[in-house]
Point group: C2
Chain length 334, copies 2
């Protein structure tokens, strides 16, 4: 069933059929009905490839993520998929495995297949990505690391506000000795979360020095070993702000198996709000990075520049916020 068949059946030209389908020009009620009848009769659907060829673009969005199996991503993907689907687009998913080169290759491939837009929800980064993006044929949305410009948007997570809320929460509970288990320094969001912690601490304790900061790796084991290290030292903090939930849960487990009680002996605050944060015992107080919203807003930002040749992108700032559960309490020690 080609458009030609429909045209013949309806006794009109292919152009008219096209106009009826795409509502791109006025056609008489009468002819429109004839065409629609023929379409229904043959259950006709336009050939997507021919359409793409003729239009020079496809209704496909490319989504790059660093690691699907990192619990941070699936929810983002889910909300992106839902948003994209509602708009009648399809989603091509690419997993970079934190490999910046691979990311560049993927982007090339997506551009070559003339996708409508690209979502770069990755934590690795390469200058080449920006270079590629600057060719401006394709809309791009960065995440955190990136720039705003023609056809380029950036959705950035405001880590600082949530972390400040976390510190604030601990301070108001009476904590003074607060440590931080940082994420990997290799990773941007690790560095920025640490910075946010430092800034917030400086705000609340202007004269404090030598903040206790342990570098982790964003993984369960890293949290556990940081906690282990913490337990070796002469003075244990009364609270710890951890750069992500996985490490927070690792630390919690270590503390518990050392005989400490959370939150009585030590308060713990995580970051991300992964599903398991509600399931731990005690349920983890954590800073939520609203993934559903990240996905939704990223697609929104993308669509702003899709199909608009020189449209300038926007910066979307999404706040993080504290969710109080049961892993925080007033300190039992000084």
């Amino acid at each position: 069933m080609r458009i030609k068949d429909i045209a013949r059946e309806a006794g009109v030209s292919t152009a008219t059929v096209s106009h009826v389908i795409n509502k791109t020009k006025y056609v008489t009620d009468e002819t429109r009905e004839k065409v629609q009848l023929a379409i229904k009769k043959f259950n006709y659907h336009p050939n997507a490839h021919a359409q793409m060829l003729a239009l020079g673009k496809s209704k496909i969005i490319g989504l790059l993520v660093s690691d699907i199996s990192n619990p941070f991503f699936p929810e983002i993907i889910k909300s992106v998929e839902a948003a994209v689907f509602d708009l009648g687009y399809s989603l091509i998913l690419l997993n970079t495995n934190y490999d910046a080169e691979r990311a560049v290759e993927y982007v090339h491939r997506l551009i070559q297949m003339k996708v409508a837009g690209i979502l770069l929800l990755i934590s690795e980064f390469d200058e080449a990505l920006i270079e590629v993006a600057k060719r401006k044929k394709t809309s791009i949305v960065f995440h955190d690391l990136g720039i705003v410009g023609e056809k380029m948007s950036n959705v950035i997570l405001d880590y600082a506000v949530g972390i400040d809320e976390a510190v604030q929460h601990l301070v108001s509970l009476g904590h003074k000795n607060i440590a931080h288990i940082a994420g990997s320094h290799e990773i941007y969001s690790g560095r920025i979360r640490e910075q946010a912690f430092v800034d917030s601490m400086k705000k609340h304790f202007p004269k404090a020095e030598n903040l206790k900061i342990y570098e982790g790796d964003f993984r369960f084991e890293g949290g556990r070993s940081a906690a282990h290290q913490m337990l070796q030292e002469k003075e244990l903090p009364t609270a710890v702000v951890v750069a992500n939930d996985l490490m927070a849960l690792g630390a919690m487990q270590e503390f518990k198996s050392a005989g400490l009680h959370v939150p009585q002996d030590i308060s713990i605050i995580g970051f991300d709000d992964i599903a398991f944060a509600t399931l731990s015992e005690p349920a983890l107080t954590t800073v939520c990075s609203p993934r559903i919203e990240i996905g939704r807003r990223a697609v929104e930002a993308l669509m702003l520049t899709v199909d608009r040749p020189h449209q300038h992108g926007i910066e979307v700032r999404i706040p993080t916020y504290l969710i109080k559960r049961n892993s925080t309490a007033p300190p039992s020690r000084k």
Copy 2:
């Protein structure tokens, strides 16, 4: 940059350029080099859409999953993505949200865009899916529920073998009073896991009757409430085989907060081997459904029928197997 430009630059016809690119006919070394030079000079890449149109097919694989945020799927997706990428294909990801109608709609859409093949890694099911598949234009791979036929394969997980190993393991530890927390009866894999448990128990305890089976919902909370219910009864089993890890962890938490010790007071075996299974305290003994392999084998099966008009599909049977960790031990009671 069109193929025409390359042809002009190299002083040959477009046909020759095409043959050089696709190695579809012999061309002289001399002309080949000229063409390759021109290609490199202009950094030419064939227009994917035109290619698809000319060939009537695309190098795209569609993957339907029930719920990306269910920890079962991301690893499958990851391995599918890797396999598909290595073959030079792209992956379109669709999330059905356990909605069979939506699945049907997705499949239609994929067929309409003439994807090379479709992977149906979903747990919902609709006869319409089979009907659609039977039109045979597109290769399809089912998972568990499905049929094998022309262009249709089925990769089925052998739940029984792993569950039998689990029961066997408990029996050899000396357990006699073994309960089951089942998944939702609405879902095929819930029913089949329960059946496998029943069969295995009948094998080991031919004269036993009234197996203790609690219906759950595959979610943490379901496991917890099943355990809660279990605790109300006069006699607590010494071991419990749970239909998935999430419920197993929920049950474990409930037992622990009731003051019981796992595994001393009660042994727990989960199913799936999600990431958190290793992180719980104690680490969860569980039956592994090898997701990496599922993804890999599914793509393998798919590729068998892709591009081969009347190729018959295959049935792939993937065994599950027990991973012994620390949530199982000999019973302390009779």
